[in-house]
Amino acid sequence: MYKVLRKKVLTDTGVDRVILLDIEAPLVAKKHKPGHFVMLRIDEKGERVPLTIADANPETGAVTIIAQEVGSTSKQLGRLEAGDHILDFVGPLGQAAHYPEHKHVVCIGGGLGVAPLYPEVKHLYQTGSHVTSIVGARNKDLILLESEMQEYSHEFYIATDDGSYGTKGFVTTILQELIDSNTPVDLVIAIGPIPMMKAVANLTRKYEIKTLVSLNSLMVDGTGMCGACRVTVGGETKFTCIDGPEFDGHLVDFDEQMRRLSMYKDKEKEVLIQEGCGGANGCQ
């Protein structure tokens, strides 16, 4: 059993709710590196789901995860409070992010993608890279970890779809401006919804700027055993859990990923209806 040490509601607009949990998992906290994820199962009947690690503290043994309440498991996570326990929590999994020397790195986070991006930003900043961060969301309320990101970024930009905060437009709007201003960019890291990562990769491909993306594929075990997370990268099938989750954004087949992620949409609705959570407003 793994104890919930802390819970914080990061966003609650009535429609969208994003929560942060610190889970007591000292072995995972000790081994965590940017890019890693965990698999968790809340209770006996729960699904095993992958979640990226937003932060980890080897001293306290706390591993921070951030989830948006969309599916049955994330809604259930949202109902947990400090002191509650989850049954299974295993990791850290995946390949740690690996960066050769990069002078100027542009880190782009969209929506919940900011959570896994944050440890990378922190790491890059602390190891001497010049970090430019661009955070995007649909609206102001959905901007996550703003002060944390800002603390470890030399330059920091925000874009919202509705213009309620920062630049009105997409993260690519800002990235295009950066490129147009002739600032040399050595590496782009983009983590967020697939359409965003695809748009970023399409833009940087034109300028031949190396771009890493992080995929949140469906998984069952997270250890290479099932192949649920397969993704085509450069024409080859890779397993996100053991080969990723980060891949060269110019080589990923994003359309296939998008399609595979939607595989159980109908089944997900069935679970939610069974639990009396038909709508987007949480469960009774």
Partner: protein, 466 residues
Amino acid sequence: MSVDKRARFIGREPMALLEDELRVRGFSEVALGYTEEQAISEAKRCLKCKNPKCQLGCPVNIDIKDFIALTAEGKFIEAYKKIKEKNSLPAVCGRVCPQEEQCEVECIVGLKGEPVAIGRLERFVSDYALTKEHKKIVCEVSAGKKVAVVGSGPAGLACAGELAKLCYDVTMYEAFHEPGGVLMYGIPEFRLPKGIVKEEVEFLKEAGVKIECNVIIGKTLTIDDLFEMGFEAVFLGTGAGLPYFLGLEGENLNGVYSANEFLTRVNLMRAYRFPEYKTPVYVGNHVAVIGAGNVAMDAARTARRLGATVHIIYRRSEEEMPARKEEIEHAKEEGIGFLTLANPMKVIGDEKGYVKEIVCQQMELGEPDESGRRRPQAIPGSEFTLPVDTLVVAVGQGPNPIVTQATPDLATNKWGNIIADEQTGATSIPGVYAGGDVVTGAATVIKAMGAGKIAAAGIHNYLTNK
């Protein structure tokens, strides 16, 4: 009293099976086992050969002759203990071993009739013992030395069992949330009830083996960490947990599963009880399974129980099918169709990206290849299409790469299997031993157990002389 030896050559005691119609409506075990009378009668068919050849065929050298003699006398607990001296998981092996190509194939009675049903007897006495009070093996003097066993599948369970008997302080690490490895996630309930695996795991716990789930060696802890924690030897039994695909066009369409994924969803995660259990599985009306090994049969029979019509697609003929005969028979009884000499060519999806049909080519058998099996070759113009809602690829697995990636000093072969000494299980790292599918590639439960036992002896020898 004279014994009518002819009776022995007539036929073996049949085992009761669940009715066909009942089978496909649930996940109850299909083979129902012997009664006490049947077991005694079957055991009496044994000729008690001076040099029992059956024992040579057993990867863990069970004293088959002795346990059968005890069974014939009705001394079932004693018979069980006799097996247990050599085999830590008899209730499992009695169900899933390919006896027809190991012990039973060597049986002298089999020369003129049906061989003694060694596997069924093994199963009977084990099931009998599990339901009765009997003294558990408890180690009295602790050796004090700590040994880590990585992976709790057949190899790890066997190794841990042997080490516990030798009084080592054993901790077994499992990546999943439940111990048992392939016995839990792979082999379905109707062939190996999970309660039996749990009993066997309990038995190890009572013998002092500690089990740590949710720990991935190579990620959560490294092998170096284990030595630092005071373990003096490590056994790696991490299995063949990396599914192969065929590289077909359309293989990443929605609804195309590896057998590992399909079976794990249903067995370990209980997707057959969705939505009560929250792991979904997608099974439409028509399922095809590519491959004809035991795993393919398990996937096909599982899909059948989830309500689909099911076809096995295999590119050779029935004779070459690697599955146990009994599994093929049961699959047929349950109405699974067999498309033999059919080679999958490509997978076609619908507009939403879900698999819709599979295109195959009809094959014929040509000359034998290196393996002695006749090589299938394509018949020109014989392509045909099979409509499918779900496609399961069951064409084998490679070794799981997590431990080897994290341990660069651990020598592997070109397929990524750990190189281990056949006599001792020793790897290229002193104190680290390995066995089972991660060494040999995908094989059988009993072979993995045999390797686990050998490594336990290797570890004992190493630690005794250290």
